[in-house]
């Protein structure tokens, strides 16, 4: 095991896959000479040259479409969005095209492409730069969606995403690029659609990914002192969802809180809650609660931004409520 930062783990995944497979290349804004807006692609231009690490003009729809074209002839593009906020310019290419080419061509044209980049609120970058795009892309059949929370998963999941023959939306937490964690020395591929139990506990299942994964772990520590044992589950893949792991946990704890940094209206947070109430109804001793962003465009002022996001306090309160320790 080695200790790596989340951003370094992502870089290693790309580096290893590019070395292993000539058809893999990276394209996006500032990925080459600038080494990536968040330094995820640092060193890749030096290692692979301008043929495979490509700086593009500022035209997200353009390079998304160009990437899709390249994937149609069998290359395996990794398309970086400087942030997922700017992917909205490329929505048509991703949703109307990437997600549908394989199906529309009667299965004749596979599309092995990965779209990746940071998502979620960073620190004080206001509404247009703070979107959590999880709900938008998880809604689309034809796309797989991954969102690693730890360096180990970041590496193993990105490698899987690059080797998958379907288009993959790969979401990275903008605020967790610096998080350190252990990564195995040997190659590891994290299978598509497999969740991970991050912390065991018998009283309440807490499902969380991205930044709120860490907030949920802090809440679990706080609650432990109050005698409440949380079982924290990181779904890792938001499409397909590993409901078996989540339902297994709920069958033990009989309670479930879903924490997510996206708005409450729909999205994977609502999807998980819906599946738990349908498939785990008999196990439940309390309504499923969700802790989400407040329903408004993200404000800039830091004290307001903090309140908009899931906090340790709000998560702890929801857990106490489902455990009937608080009204």
């Amino acid at each position: 095991m080695r200790t790596l930062r989340y951003r370094e783990a992502l870089r290693e995944a790309m580096f290893e896959e590019m070395r292993r497979d000539e058809t893999v290349f990276l394209m996006g804004e500032e990925v080459g000479f600038y080494q990536g807006a968040y330094k995820v692609s640092e060193g890749l231009l030096d290692a692979f040259g301008q043929r495979r690490v490509i700086d593009t003009p500022i035209a997200e729809n353009g390079f998304a479409g160009v990437g899709i074209g390249a994937a149609m002839v069998g290359l395996r593009p990794v398309i970086e969005f400087m942030t997922w906020n700017f992917s909205f310019v490329a929505f048509d290419q991703i949703i109307s095209n990437a997600a549908k080419v394989y199906q529309m061509s009667g299965g004749k044209i596979p599309l092995p492409i990965v779209f990746r980049g940071p998502t979620g609120a960073a620190k004080q970058v206001a509404s247009q730069h703070s979107h959590s795009v999880d709900p938008f892309y998880t809604n689309i059949p034809g796309l797989w969606v991954g969102f690693p929370s730890t360096p180990r998963d970041a590496k193993g999941m990105l490698k899987t995403a690059i080797r998958t023959d379907d288009p993959v939306i790969f979401l990275e937490g903008e605020t967790i690029y610096n998080v350190k964690g252990e990564v195995p020395d040997e190659e590891e591929l994290i299978p598509l659609g497999k969740a991970r139990v991050a912390r065991e506990g018998k009283d309440c299942t807490v499902v969380a990914w991205g930044r709120p994964y860490y907030t949920a772990l802090s809440a679990a520590e706080l609650l432990e002192k109050e005698g409440i044992e949380c079982e924290v589950i990181d779904p890792r893949w938001l499409r397909p969802l590993d409901m078996n792991t989540i339902i297994d946990s709920v069958s033990k704890t009989n309670r479930c809180v879903v924490v997510h940094e996206h708005w409450a209206y729909g999205g994977p947070g609502a999807e998980i809650a819906d599946r738990v109430q349908r498939d785990g109804f008999d196990h439940l001793d309390a309504p499923i609660l969700r802790v989400s962003n407040l329903d408004m465009p993200m404000p800039y002022a830091s004290h307001l931004e903090e309140l908009c996001l899931p906090t340790v306090e709000r998560i702890a309160r929801a857990v106490r409520q489902v455990c009937y320790r608080e009204g």
């Binding site: 600038y34 729809n61 310019v89 509404s127 404000p299």
Partner: protein, 373 residues
């Protein structure tokens, strides 16, 4: 002035339009005819803009504000073009044009209230620093995704035209934004409907770390106008007088119903992309030298000094005045409290739906607040 339209085939790069000569005199054929007092007034605006840039960068380094996106080296392009627009015309900004907003009448205090995101900020602490608005001075709102203001400026001018109002719009954007779909849609639409919009491209050489030659294979940005049946001109963006003359011609053309103009102002981003950027990572200081020698503010100063209308004493007094006003405005902005909690529930909709009311009550009174459903 060099301008051309609709000609077929490959063309020589357009000539660069200049008025202010190296010796500080003006080319009489294209002199926009400002009085010396008017030039002095604009010059004060240029000094204000540059001094604020330096002071705001220092505030950011001290951690007192979070961010600043400056206009070092591009002041004449920005102030000259805004000056040339009529008061009734609207400005659709990019993000680097605080000098334009101040020239239009945004108060220094309101500007700083936005930089601090305090309770008096016009946009109520919701946007990043340098994302102010000044509707009453017909100066739009700033949108972060590159290029979005371009089509909006076209829509605004087009609607005014349909309404029979003599209003033009000027929209600012960078060289990088010419790659965005908004630029192409906006130019095309404006060409087809002869919309009174001035497309003002600040070609400052860079889009963050990407130089213009990796942004486009065209020899110039102005020539892109041809493809859309739009007039394209190239002007020395570090020549205040050329920028004013070219922009005036564009507004006059718009007012005559002859449609849009694309102005490519050749200038240079002398600072980083923003305070979050370190330009030494991708360019050497030696690249700045030729541009430093053609500093837009120095050139106006040289012109005024020659006329006996400016000297070191007036320069020092001007900067001292800016500093005093700046200090005062910062003190007020820093003492003003942050926006109140309740304010964040406002303006999502004209009146808040039940679930926002519920979220507000829970936040203020705690989870035991009565549910509204």
């Amino acid at each position: 002035m060099s301008s051309h339209q609709g000609a077929a085939g490959v063309q020589e790069p357009l000539e660069v339009f200049r008025v202010l000569r190296d010796d500080g005199t003006l080319d009489p054929e294209h002199d926009p005819g400002l009085t010396t007092e008017e030039v002095v007034e604009i010059y004060r605006g240029l000094v204000l803009t540059r001094t604020l840039d330096q002071r705001l960068t220092a505030l950011q380094r001290q951690g007192r504000i979070g961010f600043h996106v400056g206009s070092l080296g591009e002041e004449a392009a920005i102030l000259g073009s805004t000056y040339a627009m009529r008061d009734t015309d609207w400005i659709f900004p990019c993000y680097r044009e605080f000098g334009s907003a101040l020239m239009r009448g945004l108060s220094l205090q309101k500007f700083l209230d936005n930089m601090f995101g305090n309770a008096n900020d016009t946009v109520k602490g919701r946007q990043m620093p340098d994302h102010y608005t000044c509707r009453e001075k017909r100066w739009g709102s700033i949108s972060s995704p590159v290029g979005t203001q371009i089509t909006q400026a076209v829509g605004f001018a087009w609607a005014a035209k349909i309404d029979g109002k003599d209003i033009a719009t000027l929209t600012y954007f960078g060289d990088g934004a010419t790659s965005s779909p908004e630029f192409h849609s906006g130019m095309n639409f404006a060409g087809v409907f002869k919309v009174p919009t001035v497309f003002f491209c600040r070609n400052n050489g860079w889009a963050i770390s990407v130089p213009t030659e990796r942004q486009t294979a065209s020899a110039t940005f102005a020539q892109k106008a041809d493809a859309y049946g739009v007039v394209g001109v190239r002007v020395d963006g570090n020549d205040l007088f050329a920028v004013i003359a070219a922009t005036r011609q564009a507004v006059e053309r718009a007012a005559r119903g002859e449609g849009p103009t694309l102005i490519e102002a050749l200038t240079y981003r002398m600072g980083g992309h923003s305070t979050s950027d370190d330009p030494l990572r991708y360019r050497g200081d030696e690249q700045l030298e030729p541009w430093a020698a053609r500093d837009p503010i120095e050139r106006v100063r040289h012109h005024l000094t020659r006329l006996g209308a400016w000297d070191d004493e007036r320069e020092a007094a001007c900067i001292a005045d800016v500093d005093a006003r700046f200090k005062q405005a910062v003190a007020v902005a820093e003492q003003t409290p942050p926006p109140p909690l309740e304010s964040m529930f406002e303006d999502v909709y004209e009146s808040p739906p039940w679930h926002l009311v519920e979220q507000r009550e829970q936040l203020i009174q705690g989870p035991r607040a009565p549910k509204s459903h």
